[in-house]
C-alpha cells in the first residue's frame, strides 16, 4: 500500500505518456512499421514470447557476467593502486588513456579476436563498467579521513589491515555509486556487442526485427531491456544498502 502511495506519481506519468503515444498513433495514422502503438507492442510481445525470452536469457547472462567480472577487476585495481604507491605512476595514466578509447570503435575488433559468441559481449560489458568501478573505488580509498588512519596506526594496524578494515569500508559509499552507474552501463556494453556481430541476444533480435520492418517486435525487445535495466539498478541499490546498514543514504532511489 505504502509502495503504491510512493510510486503513484511516477506510475501516473508513465501511463500518461503511454496514452499520449497511443493517441498520437491513432490521430496521425502512422503505419505500424514506422511507429507501433503501445497496444501493438504488447500484442507483439505476447505473440513472440518464446523468441523474446530465449534472446533475453542470452543478454542477461552477458550483462551479469560482465558486471561481476568488471566489478571484481575494478575493485582489485583500486585496492592495488591504494596499496602499492609505485603502481600509481605506471597504472593510473594507462587507465586514463584507456578510458579515452571509444568502446564502440573497439567492438568490431573484439568480434574479430573473440568471435561472435558470448565472450566478446561479456568483454564489452566488462570494459564498460571496469573504469567507473575502479575510479570511484580508488577515489573512495584515497579519501579516508586522516583521523581514522591515525587511530589505526596507533592501534598497531599494518598497511594491509588499514586498507581492508578502515579504507575499504570507508570507501563503500563511493563504491556504491560506482556500482549503480555500472549497473546502468553494463546492458549498453552487451547490446553494442550484439549489434556489431552476433547470432543471439536481444541486440541481435532488435537489429534483425528492424531490418524486417518488425518494429513492434523491436519495441517489445526494448521493453525487456528497459525492465531488466531498472531491475538491475534497484537490485544493486538494495544489495549496497544491505552492505551498509550504518550508512545514512541521502542519494536514495526514490527521491
Amino acid at each position: 500500500m505504502s509502495i503504491l502511495k510512493r510510486f503513484w506519481p511516477a506510475l501516473l506519468g508513465i501511463i500518461t505518456l503511454l496514452g499520449l503515444w497511443q493517441l498520437l498513433v491513432i490521430v496521425t495514422g502512422v503505419p505500424d512499421y514506422i511507429l507501433p502503438a503501445p497496444l501493438t507492442v504488447v500484442q507483439a510481445f505476447a505473440a513472440h514470447q518464446q523468441l523474446l525470452w530465449h534472446h533475453a536469457g542470452i543478454t542477461v547472462i552477458e550483462i551479469v557476467a560482465g558486471l561481476l567480472i568488471g566489478f571484481m577487476s575494478g575493485l582489485g585495481t583500486a585496492l592495488a593502486l591504494a596499496r602499492f604507491h609505485g603502481l600509481r605512476r605506471t597504472l593510473l595514466p594507462i587507465l586514463l588513456i584507456s578510458q579515452a578509447v571509444p568502446l564502440f570503435a573497439l567492438a568490431p575488433i573484439l568480434m574479430l579476436w573473440l568471435g561472435y559468441g558470448m565472450t566478446a559481449k561479456i568483454v564489452m560489458a566488462t570494459l564498460i563498467i571496469y573504469f567507473p568501478v575502479a575510479s570511484t573505488c580508488y577515489d573512495g580509498l584515497r579519501q579516508t579521513p586522516q583521523g581514522w588512519l591515525d587511530l589505526a596506526q596507533t592501534l598497531g594496524a599494518n598497511r594491509r589491515r588499514q586498507l581492508l578494515h578502515i579504507q575499504l569500508p570507508a570507501a563503500l559509499p563511493s563504491l556504491a555509486s560506482g556500482m549503480r552507474m555500472a549497473a546502468s552501463a553494463a546492458p549498453i556494453g552487451a547490446v553494442i556487442g550484439e549489434w556489431v556481430g552476433s547470432s543471439q541476444g536481444l541486440g541481435y533480435l532488435m537489429l534483425n526485427a528492424n531490418a524486417r520492418m518488425q518494429v513492434d517486435l523491436m519495441f517489445a525487445a526494448l521493453l525487456i531491456l528497459i525492465t531488466f535495466g531498472v531491475a538491475l539498478y534497484f537490485t544493486t541499490d538494495a544489495v549496497m544498502r544491505r552492505l551498509m546498514p550504518w550508512h545514512d543514504d541521502r542519494t536514495g532511489t526514490t527521491n
Binding site: 587511530l151 592501534l155 588499514q162 550504518w246
Partner: protein, 253 residues
Amino acid sequence: MTSLGFSLSQARLAFSGQWLFDGLAADFTPGSWTGLLGRSGSGKSSLLRMIAALPIPDTHDLTLTTTDKRPLAGRLAWMAQQDQLLPWRKVIDNVLLGPALRGRPTAAQHQRAQDLLGDVGLGDKAEQWPKTLSGGERQRVALARTLFEDAPVVLMDEPFSAVDAITRLELHELAARLLAGRTVLLVTHDPLEALRLSDRILILSGQPASLSDFDVPGGQRPRALEAPDVQRMQSQLVNRLHAPHGNIGEGVV
C-alpha cells in the same frame, strides 16, 4: 600495566622554512597528567603527533626516551578531538577495534569490552550503531576504546572539545577516574580543563616556541570547578596565554 614515563629532547619542527620550535625538551613522570596549552598554530598538536609517530607534512625531529629504555611504540593510546568511531562498526566493535586490527578479538576480549562499556555507562548500547549516540556518548565510547588498549601512556589531542560544556565536565570526572595511574599528555585549548585535570601545565609559546611551566592548583584531580584556586588561576592562565610571548604573569602565581 606498570606505569611508564618518558622524556623528549631535541624536538624541532619547521613550518614554511622556519623553525616553529627547536631544541624543546620535557619530562613526563610515570603516572602524571600534563596539560599542554598554547595558541593555535603554536605546534602543540604537531608535537603530540610527533610523540605518537604519526605522519606530519613538515620537517621534524624528536628524541624520545622512556623510563624503561624500550621504545614507546605499541605502548601508547591516542585520543583525538573527534571520537573517530567507525560508523560501520557497532559500538562494542569500535571498542574492540585494536584487537580486530591486530588479529581476531577473543571471547575474553569481547567480555572485557562489554565491561568497559559498562564502566563508561554505556553497557546497554553495545549493539547499537555509533550514529544513534549523542556526542557525549560517542566520546565515552572513544574513552572505552582507549581504555581497552591498557596503554601506560595516553596522548590526547583536545579530546573533549567537540562536546557541550556540561558533558565536558562529566567526561573530565570519568576520564580522571578511569585513566588514573597512566601517564597522560593532554593538549587542550581550554584553561579550565587543564587546571582541573593536570598535575603539571606546560605552555608552548614564543617564536621560536619554548615550553614554560604554569603552577597548578593543589588538591586531587579532577579538581572541583568551584574551588577558589581553580577560578583564580583560570584568569591568570588566560592572561598568560593572551600575552604576546607568554611571559606575563610568570613567577607571579
